[in-house]
Symmetry: C2
Subunit: 97 residues, 2 copies
């Protein structure tokens, strides 16, 4: 049980950094022994999430494949009770056995 990993450990959140930062985060995750990585993004970062998955797969972890892709809508709250809906994506990548 000691080495049981919480699923949340495998999640990479895509923000506004250059795409290669996230590619490196995914590669590091895989090199540390994970066989599954989940890439999550919201709003305009969604395109960068897809780039991250594609570049990782094509250039850095050739055996990697897309296990699942989910899209959804999240509500974000800003200052003074402002609320908005934002689309989200969740890409699950796995390394082949």
């Amino acid at each position: 049980m000691g080495d049981t990993k919480m699923p949340e450990d495998n999640v990479i959140y895509i923000g506004t950094k250059p795409m290669m930062s996230y590619v490196m985060a995914v590669v590091t995750q895989i090199n540390s022994g994970s066989d599954e990585v989940v890439i999550k993004a919201r709003g305009r970062a969604i395109a960068r999430a897809v780039d991250t998955a594609e570049v990782t797969r094509a250039k850095f972890v050739p055996g990697m494949e897309v296990k699942d892709i989910k899209i959804g809508t999240e509500q974000i709250s800003g200052d003074e009770g402002y609320k908005a809906n934002v689309s989200s994506i969740e890409i699950t990548l796995v390394t082949k056995a």
Copy 2:
């Protein structure tokens, strides 16, 4: 055979127009009798494709669900032999029977 539809008829390509233009295109497609619509986008339009799918589903066609999502990489050629890779997404939406 007369009313056989080519699959390509159901494809909505997401470009740089406001998202609602594409939502309307999907709704029109459904109202004309299609039970399946494929939303395709490349590069930065990917986020708008996800928005289109989510808004259509949440506000305009409540019975609609995501059947499949694929991501990929396409090579685009510009002037003077310039080539670049661009990520793509393909979201297949279906109306429940």
